[in-house]
Symmetry: C2
Subunit: 169 residues, 2 copies
DNA sequence: GCAAGTTAATTAACATGTTAATTGATTGCC
DNA sequence: GGCAATCAATTAACATGTTAATTAACTTGC
């Protein structure tokens, strides 16, 4: 790259080195996620769920009632986006809502029986697909990847990197 | 899916194990990307660029004229989404377009001088941020992560996992 | 050379990500 | 108690992801 003498010296033709490291990491993470999601997506679509709706169902399957902020943190979805998506799932009979008795500002959500049985199908298929994936990559390699990712996330600030103030556990 | 005896046996309360492996990988990749992007995003926003617009500029900085399909593959954006975003960048004077002389179906794009100098700023900052990140995580750890991700992407089908038929290089 | 099939790009329709503004409830402080 | 600051959730406005349909240009087979 140019030295100090070339101020805003953006070259003329194909200037920048084709091997920029900088933005390669976000891009690589994006590609990796896309590649993995292609395996899981058909199951979700068959059940009429988008990626995000699947994350919401999964997060709710692990708990009972949970408020919007905590849910946003768990499923890595912006609270503003949740406020729009949750009502859709309530209308479809997959989720139910009720205000927090302790704090009227908070709205809490939970799966309905229909929601649980729907997610049950997602879950069974997901386990199968993940197993196949582990076999294809090698369990050790997959473990190493999980650890690297965990270290990255922890090092960069953990869940704070997903939801602004997000106060969960 | 369930065996014959346990048909839609979705448990009642907080049924599913809190440690589902299946969907943890997509989620982890999503969190990791979010955490990393938080470092790069301010630079992009200062220049009035969204994440996706940044990816487009970066992809174009490495080549001269390129058609929409190839660009979609390079920046990991759906062709349909590109068709909507590119005109915006053209209107802002960052990109220019012209049809491919060999094949009138193809539309090719390239950075303008303004586009190059804008991306120059992104690039300089990105290198700095990435350097700091490598120092924080340890260069070796970052390298290991890159390799794990590359192996995952390759194993799952490479670029085919991003753009449908995508014919590049 | 022309009709059927294919391909590149665009458009439309809906769901989501993102940011800022709004509303209602709670907390702190006096 | 009451008012200012804060907080949870929502809403609005814009940009993007996703899928299907559309249009125009190429390709193939005959």
């Amino acid at each position: 790259m140019p030295k100090a003498t070339t101020r805003s010296a953006a070259p003329k033709a194909a200037p920048f080195p084709a091997q920029m490291m900088s933005r390669a990491l976000p891009m690589q993470l994006l590609r990796a996620r896309e590649a993995v999601m292609q395996r899981f997506r058909p199951t979700l679509r068959d059940l009429g769920l988008t990626d995000q709706q699947g994350r919401i169902m999964r997060a709710l399957a692990e708990v009972e009632w949970i408020d919007m902020m905590a849910l946003a943190g768990r499923c890595c979805i912006h609270p503003a986006s949740l406020s729009r998506t949750v009502p859709r799932l309530v209308a479809r009979g997959l989720l139910r809502r009720r205000p927090d008795p302790q704090d009227a500002r908070r709205m809490t959500v939970a799966l309905t029986a229909k929601g649980r049985s729907t997610f049950w199908n997602v879950w069974v298929e997901s386990e199968r697909i993940y197993g196949a994936l582990a076999e294809q990559l090698g369990a050790a390699n997959l473990e190493a990847l999980h650890r690297s990712l965990e270290a990255l996330i922890e090092s960069l600030g953990g869940d704070a990197a997903t939801v602004p103030p997000g106060g969960e556990e």
